[in-house]
Symmetry: D2
Subunit: 267 residues, 4 copies
């Protein structure tokens, strides 16, 4: 399968280039990054794809006959890239975050009418997808739940997209089970904000930011006499790669737009 | 629903008596314990079931017209009790541990031919059942896994029954996914035993025993650049009660022998 | 040493009565509780102190010739009790929370002029005192720190007194080391409160409330490429007893008012 | 201060080169690595030290007038390097592991008679040094303790050197407090090794090896009704750098051989 990478010069993009180049069943045929055109990725990132240079425009995908494009760019660029992919019949695997809901719906329509498919996920770490799924499954059986996410101090948004998504899915599962909002006993709040932020659906979310940390999330469920904790730790951007490769290999057989890794994992 | 408790004088038994007496849809009609016959449970354990005394033999269940018996005794007593239940058409909910596999199979046969059913679980904490299930679901997607269980220093067996069961189910899930044994890199073992015990199926299990702890288990999965941790903490025997009551309410509609809480939780 | 317990009918008070009665070097000579006068503690709480009844007023301490009073009541009652102790020359060990700072200063003056001494601590769990001390020691060497406390859903104040005290001592240690406020990178706060409450001194504190939990605190420090986590779990009110007995045994040799368990542990 | 790095071509060595080059008060003047002589570190590792090349022999330190040598090599090479440093009056900061105790004693003698000093530590992460110290301080006050260390599946020795050192220091602290061996209640060991390895001094140590993990250690103390957990997570080799730079800056003022980071941190 012939793969092109959009945002190839970025930190995740380089990692994707490396992972694709290393996979025996995939071929890295195009690397696109406007700001780094002409760069020899082999030299700067040790990628073993002879002769590959970074091109500056997405049209490179046509020239290189790419079947799948992997996009790790920024939201506005990704939106333009994905419209292009739908139009040109190139499958897309997208890890770029911050694409607004209404743009996602527009893309759904475009890929439903295209010969190409799209897999879009906020977090390509398979362990994070399992965590979210397990939280959904546990929600109906446990009396209460709160989410703690912990990230490095370079992360400026809080809470993380993964935490918000977990909260949404847990809230939906609680509602489907007729559980309503988890009770909040706190009356005497000495420090404003100490009880965290309340996500839509009522789940409390706490965001920790510390130097040294990478990307971690802990979901704590409570019930009579017990607690159940589900935690994911990502130590490295490499944690995304197995999920990205899984999506690259499956995207051709998943018509339309697939949201999240869940369906690719069988749930 | 009329409920009798076997092992009513024990620590878990008393807690079961209390939970049944407190449940509006259940009635505590018999309390059996050979060593404590004639005791007023109301006085020693604050149980609100007027006139109830602890009887010494299981035949009390007949006199009291119990529909369900809950057994928290010891393995040999439980085996005799369960044969009696199958014979007398009284449903059984059993949390007694240490019943050998071949005795479980014998009981399966007896309950299949009885009008009564049986639910048998090593751990009635709903959170523990969720943990085990999630481990089974995660196993095919993660590269390695080890189990750490931590208990109070009064527990003499190691590892715990729950840890062994988790290991067995994770191993089965890995095998079904064609994963084989998790790799073990350790060559230079300075302290014998440091890498834990190897359960059937190859999973490493580590057992911690410390004063102050109650009953805890942590299952750690690893994959490229990440880990996924599923942890259950039981702080109190009360953690079993929701699971016991769930089983009491469902046992009449689950023909034959049901193993574990899983099927009652819908998986 | 002859010991009286104030608030003897409360949940912690009963536990203290039991611990004192069980200690070979201590004698439980008085149990005071206005609401429960005349109650036989032996019967309701299994306390082995023959003939001991619950009296309704603190004057019982005189009659019983108590040398030390242990107070687990509520703030206003404790304040009156402690004034009485200072006046009557009875040493005091106090675990009642919520006594205002200015009242503590008043008591310091009274005990400095009394033949009796006082040990006052918000948390008598020795492990919690160690946690707080270690946080203070770690603070100068780590770049950032946040506090997560987790309690059962019956706790109405947030954050906990222990969390606030930890935050204050960590902030003082950072300031003494010239570290200033920990940096906070968050700009885009999707949910108000998600980044927790900011304690005086700048430390972020997050409070989780869930059914089933007991009393837990986790302090996470971050520095280049690493984190250091110090966690205390109290599973039971019994966790206070070793600290209470330690204070009872040492109070006579600690002139004036001693704040916290630290000095009794040698730091 | 002029610094040379021995083992400059290795993974930690490169990181040290980078950290030294980036520190405004330090100058990277020599990089030694037999296997990589002539390599331009600037190109392969982005190190900004103009004109610096990797030399093949330690004599380069003389030519470059290095005041401090940092050694991250392998035990036999390090031993030769350190003898050379003691002889030539170059201070040494050593993170190479596996140097036998008797060789350490030999080096102690050599540096005591040299104008140069040596700081040798098995783990340069400041958080790990704090963890070990806190364990030592907690040991006398807690009833029991076990150590769990978790590392990536490329680590072949078990348990880790840090775990063994922690066990030794905790055992010494317990013995000094007259506590004797922690009790072990386990009688019925279903899986050999499940209770971990017993370090000299009696502490149980459990070693987990999983793909994806980096370097983690958790020390769990138990006492009546509570537990205290001290955990260090190293996510990256960068976690060593602050400790290495601290040692480089202090080594000139620490006569003889200093073992561990503790003394540099003030304990």
């Amino acid at each position: 399968m012939r793969v092109g990478v959009l945002g190839a010069g970025g930190r995740v993009g380089r990692e994707v280039c490396r992972a694709v180049a290393d996979a025996p069943d995939l071929e890295l045929v195009a690397a696109v990054d406007p700001g780094m055109a002409g760069i020899d990725l082999r030299q700067v990132a040790g990628i073993d794809a002879p002769g590959l240079q970074v091109a500056s425009t997405i049209d490179e995908l046509v020239r290189a006959e790419a079947e799948v494009a992997v996009d790790f760019t920024v939201a506005p660029a990704a939106l333009a890239n994905l419209r292009w992919c739908a139009q040109h019949g190139v499958h897309a695997v997208v890890g770029t975050t911050g694409i607004p809901d209404e743009a996602v719906e527009e893309l759904r329509g475009r890929f439903e009418q295209s010969s190409a498919n799209c897999v879009l996920a906020a977090n390509f770490a398979i362990g994070a997808a399992l965590m979210t799924r397990f939280c959904e499954l546990a929600a109906p059986f446990m009396d209460g739940v709160e989410i703690i996410e912990l990230h490095h101090d370079g992360k400026r948004d809080a809470p993380s997209g993964t935490a918000l998504q977990t909260a949404a899915r847990v809230a939906a599962a609680r509602e489907a089970a007729g559980l309503g909002w988890p009770p909040d006993p706190t009356e005497d709040l000495v420090l404003p904000g100490a009880r965290g932020g309340r996500a839509p659906g009522g789940i409390r979310v706490h965001a920790v930011r510390l130097p040294g940390l990478v990307a971690h999330q802990e979901v704590v469920f409570g019930a009579v006499g017990q607690s159940l904790t589900i935690r994911h730790d990502a130590y490295d951007r490499s944690s995304f790669m197995p999920g990205v490769l899984l999506a690259v290999r499956q995207v051709a057989s998943r018509p339309g737009l697939t949201l999240g890794l869940g369906p690719l994992l069988g749930f």
